[in-house]
Amino acid sequence: MKKRLMFVLFVSLTFLLSFTPGLFAEEGVTDTEIHIGSYGPQTGPAAAWGAVPRGTSGYFKWINDNGGIHGRKLVYHMFDDGYNPAKTKAGVKELQEGTGIFAWAGGVGTSPGLAIKGYLAKKNVPWVGPATGSREFVNPPQKNLFAVYPLYEGEAKVLVNYAIETMGKKRVAIAYLNDGYGKNGLRGALTSLKSHGMESVAQVPFEAKDSDLKPHIMKLRQAKPDMVLLWITPGQAAKVVGISKAMKFDTQFMSVSTCSDFIFMNAITKGAWEGVITGTFGEVPDSKLPLMAKYKKEIFDKYAAKEERWGIFYYAGILFVEPMIEGLKAAGRDLTREKFITAMENIKGFKGVGPEVNFTPYKKGDIYSRQGTSQTFLVQCLKNGKSKRLTGLIDTK
C-alpha cells in the first residue's frame, strides 16, 4: 500500500513539475532556446520606425544560422504595438507571463518604452537597447535596463555647440515634437545655449499628426534664426526644410539622428535636404566600415523582405542589440538573468556599428552605469544623399 502511495506521489510530482520548468531553469531559457521579446510599430503613424525590430530579427536569424549562442537558438518574439503605449504594455505582459521571456531587446519609442519600464524593472527582466535616446530610461538607472542609444539631450547639445562654436551661429530656433522625444532634444539644446550665455530665438512645438506645417514655418521664420534645430519626425523635417527653401527662408538646418538617413531624406525632399547637418548614433548607410558591409551582405541581403531598405532604422535594429549578444556569449552556457546582467556590466570598449559601448556595475544615481554610449558625430548631407563627416566622435556627456 505504502509503495503504491509513493508511486502515485512520484508520478503526480513529475506531472506537476513538467508544467513548472521555471522552478529549475531560468525563465525563457531551455536546453536549446533563449526567448527574446521585442516590439515596434508595424502600423500606425510611427510605422516607419518599424524597421528597427525587423533589423533585429534579421540579426538574430544570422546569429542562429551561425550556430546560435552556446548551442542555443534565439527565439525572437516581436509584436506590433502601433506605437500605442497601452498596446505595448498589454503585449509585453502577455508575452512575459504567457510565453516567458528571458530578456527584451530593442523596443521602439519613448512613450511605449516608458509604459513597460517599471513592469520589467519589478520583475528584474533584462532589457537591452530600447530604441530611444530619452533620458528617462537611465535616470534614475535601473539594474535590468541597458541603454545603447546615445542620449538625445547630449546629441542636441553637441549640435548646438557645433553651430555656435564652429559655425558662429548666434540666433538658434528649435522645432520640437511635443512629446518625450522632442522635449529631450529641446532640453539638450537649451542647456547648450545657456552654457554659451544665449537663449533660443524661438521654440516651436509640433504635434505628431500635424500635416499642415506652414504656420510652424512662419513662426520659425518670424524669429529670423541663423540656425534651426529640428527635433521632429523625419516626414515633418522633410516638409519643413522643403517648404522653407521654397519660401527662400535661408537658414542652416540641423537635425536629430533619426533624420540622418540622407539617401531617404534626400529622396523625400527632392534634394532639399542637401546641406542639413545631423548627429548620428552609428554609421551612415553608405559607410565603408567592413562590419557594415558584412551585415548588409550577410543579414540584409539574405533575410530582409523585398520591400525593405538598407536604411538607418533597419541596421539600428542590429546596432541596439549587438551588446546583448556580447552579454549572452559572456554569460556562458549556464545562463541566468543574474549572470547575464553581470556579463552586460562587464562590457567595456565594445565596438560594433554604433559608438563604443561601456557599462559598469549598477550604481544608484550613476546614469552611465546603464547608459552604454555617450558619443556621437556630425554629418552633413551632400548632393544625391551622400554624406560628409564633419567631426570625429564627440562625447555627449
Binding site: 510605422a47 512645438p205 499628426k209 512662419m218 523625419p234 519660401m247 529622396a267
Partner: protein, 291 residues
Amino acid sequence: MIDFIQMIVSGVATGSTYALMGLAMVIIYKTSEVPNFAQGEMALITSYFAMMLLTTMNISVYLAFFISFAFAAILGAFLEFVILRRAKEPNVLGMIVITIGIEMVLLGFVSWKFGAEEKTMPFPIGPYDGFIVGGIYISKLDVLTLISALFFMIVLYLFFKFSKLGLAMKATQQNSVAAQIVGIKTNRIMMMTWGISSLVGATAGLLISPTVMQPFMMWDPMLKGFAAAVMGGMTSLPGAVIAAYMLGIIENLFGGYISIEFKTVVAFAIIVLVLCVKPSGLFARHYVKKV
C-alpha cells in the same frame, strides 16, 4: 503685413485639401445621411495605386492619374455594392460603424502592401515648386489643389441642381421609398454616389502625394474635411467648401498669432461652437420630412 498675407494664402492652400475631402463626404451624406469615415483611406489606396502604376509600370503621370480616377470611382461603387448594401436592417449608426471598419481594413492593407516608410509620388509639379509675389510664397501644387476644389464644387453644384441624376440623388436622400415608387433605382444611385465621392476624395490624396506619402497621410485632411462639412451643414456643397477655407485660414492665423500648440484642436472647438449656435450648420437648409 507680409506674414499676415502669407498666413491667409497658406490657409487657403490648406483649406483646398479640406474642401475636397469635405465635398466628398457631403456627396455621400446628401444621398444616404451617412458620414463616410472611410473617405480618407479610399483616397489613400487610390494614391498608392497611382504610385504603383508610376513606379512599376512606368507609364506617364497623366495616364496613371486617369486610370487611378477610374480605380477610385470603381472602388467607391464596389464598396457600396459589396459591403454597405449587404447590411441587414441598416440604420445610420450601423452604417457609420461599417465605414469605420472599411477605413481600418484599407489602412491596414496599405501599410501591409506598400510599407509605412514615407515616399513621394513623381509628379510634373514638384512639391516645393512655387513662385514668390511681393514676398508671399505660393506653391504651384496648392494652386492646382485650389483650382481642383473650386472646379469640383461648381461641377457638383450644377450637377445636383440641374441634372436628372443629381435630382434623383437628392430624391433618394429625402425619401428613398418615394424615390423608388417614381422609378428611381435607388441602389444604383447609391453606388454612383459612392463612386463620385471616391473620385473627389482621391483628387485630394493624389495632390498630397507628391509632397509626402505615408499610410496616415489622409487622417488629418479627412478629419478637417469632415469638420468643414459639419460646419457647412453636411448637405451644402458650397457650404463645405467655404467652411473648409474658413477652417484653413483660422487654423493658420490661430497658429501664427495665438497658439501653435492648439492649432490642431481649434477646428474641433469651432465645430462645437457652430453646433451649439446653429446646429444645422452655417450654410445648410435642412429638408424636413413631413408625416
